[in-house]
Symmetry: C2
Subunit: 123 residues, 2 copies
């Protein structure tokens, strides 16, 4: 999913949080600052390359703030900006719908086996 000047602002939102890891990163930032090296521990499978890439994107979109502490060894912390925090309700709703959907599809795959006798589709 990328580009394309469609009339829907929802498209913009998906371009921002639709990457493979962005949403996961944001979810962990909800609770407060996270160090660079903490992310891969929090998010299994996330590599440094993908982490930097998505963090830069989120930073460029004004959702996260990058704070560098001039220490050795280096320390960099990421936090949500206020704009980033405005995404939390959106994430919550996505979360909530996802849960409903999982319940639904579980129920449905059970049901298929013994209940259904209604017409499934007009055809």
């Amino acid at each position: 999913m990328k580009k394309g000047v469609h009339d829907y602002a929802a498209y913009v939102t998906l371009n921002i949080i639709g990457g493979k890891w962005s949403m996961l990163i944001l979810c962990h930032l909800r609770k407060g600052a996270v160090r660079f090296c903490e992310f891969p521990k929090l998010i299994p499978g996330l590599t440094q390359k993908m982490l930097t890439k998505h963090l830069r994107e989120l930073e460029n979109n004004g959702l996260v703030r990058r704070a560098v502490y001039p220490e050795i060894p280096p320390k960099v912390e990421y936090t949500l900006t206020s704009h980033g925090k405005s995404l939390i309700p959106v994430l919550d709703l996505l979360e909530q719908w996802g849960k409903e959907h999982l319940k639904m599809s579980a129920a449905h795959s059970d049901a298929n086996l013994h209940i259904l006798s209604q017409p499934k589709d007009c055809q």
Copy 2:
């Protein structure tokens, strides 16, 4: 974005509406039934192949219903299921946040040029 067994149900939602065209297709279905051949007219750039692919996905996820009318030339209509309709508030929120974001980033790129004298970031 695909796969990955993370703890966030929001991930599930994004897998469903996160494709390049799914959200656009759903948006047009909000108003009612749409024929196959109407989609490419409604959504510039959408090809038949991508359309079928995403429609099948949405169908498999129980969000849209496919109704075939046995006529020549063929007629196939797609509608939202009730489960599909439950996504509308989600799409609306994505839309709303996207609009806010566009306002924000427009304001920000203006502001950058003359206003800012605050520290941008601790570094």
